[in-house]
Symmetry: C2
Subunit: 156 residues, 2 copies
DNA sequence: AATGAAACGTTAAGATC
DNA sequence: GATCTTAACGTTTCATT
């Protein structure tokens, strides 16, 4: 989708404050409230704005440990009915501990960001869930010592 | 902060739809709107809810490339006036390409998630910004092939 | 039972859509 | 005009004495 300067200003504002009123937003971008609303709806319908979220501090709700897990997969079996990759991707969606999962260049594997209560929770997740999945061969974990920066804002 | 079942339901709902009205939210959690409002304000003031954000699809606004960059730092010089770590942490805040930056166990370095337009943009960011920083020794990059899962929702 | 604190619902006025 | 937000006020609940 093609964005002009006004769209960018709208996205900039709504990314920082997703509950801003249309009056306030309109004042900030220099349009009327109704024109602003039309643009926001257009951005939503075009899939530019995928949703709105309250951002929760994981540590303050008892989820004090974040880990990055490199997951190595078994070689794909030729006889498998469906791809182990797709199967793993589907499983990941259902695991609430997994905040993020991407496949990367370099190695044929996944990188997971998981948010858990503590080491015991981490251990249980890896042993009982992750390693139990048939496509997973082995994992290598790094734990987060310090969250230097974490933003949902994309520089439009 | 101590959360009861109602707080959890509120967080669950607002994490999925941050623009939900208090009437709607109240109906979902089984309270009146005013009681719901009071609880939300309390969660905000306690720092449990850190903010609200419109979520933007980076690819749809021309930011088609995400990279994970492992950054190795120079050994900290004894005579440095302030810590190179802190200096780097401050610099990272000002670079809009960096969506996330954490320090990890294992190696004394940082992991960055950067969101850029394309390879040319990535290259310029690494050459002209990242490697130009005095504390940075070298970097190793993996590019995202497939975003399997990416959520801001924390399982409360 | 009496008390106080915490949390709830109703209502109404103002803001927003 | 209809909906939504928000503060005021009275009521309920519950732990403690």
């Amino acid at each position: 989708m093609k964005l002009d300067a006004l769209d960018r200003r709208i996205l900039d504002a709504l990314q920082s404050d997703g509950r801003m009123t249309y009056d306030e937003l309109a004042a900030r971008v220099g349009l009327s409230a109704s024109a602003t609303l039309r643009r926001v709806k257009r951005l939503e319908e075009a899939g530019v704005i995928t949703g709105y979220a309250a951002l929760v501090d994981a540590a303050r709700v008892g989820l004090g440990l974040t880990a990055y897990i490199n997951v190595h997969m078994e070689k794909q079996s030729e006889t498998a009915k469906r791809s182990p990759m797709d199967d793993f991707a589907a499983a990941v969606q259902s695991w609430p501990e997994v905040a993020e999962c991407v496949s990367l260049t370099g190695e044929m594997d996944y990188l997971l960001r998981v948010v858990v209560r503590d080491m015991a929770h981490y251990s249980r997740f890896v042993m009982d869930t992750l390693l139990r999945h048939p496509s997973v061969k082995d994992v290598r974990t790094s734990f987060v010592l310090d969250r230097v920066k974490a933003t949902t804002v994309v520089p439009v």
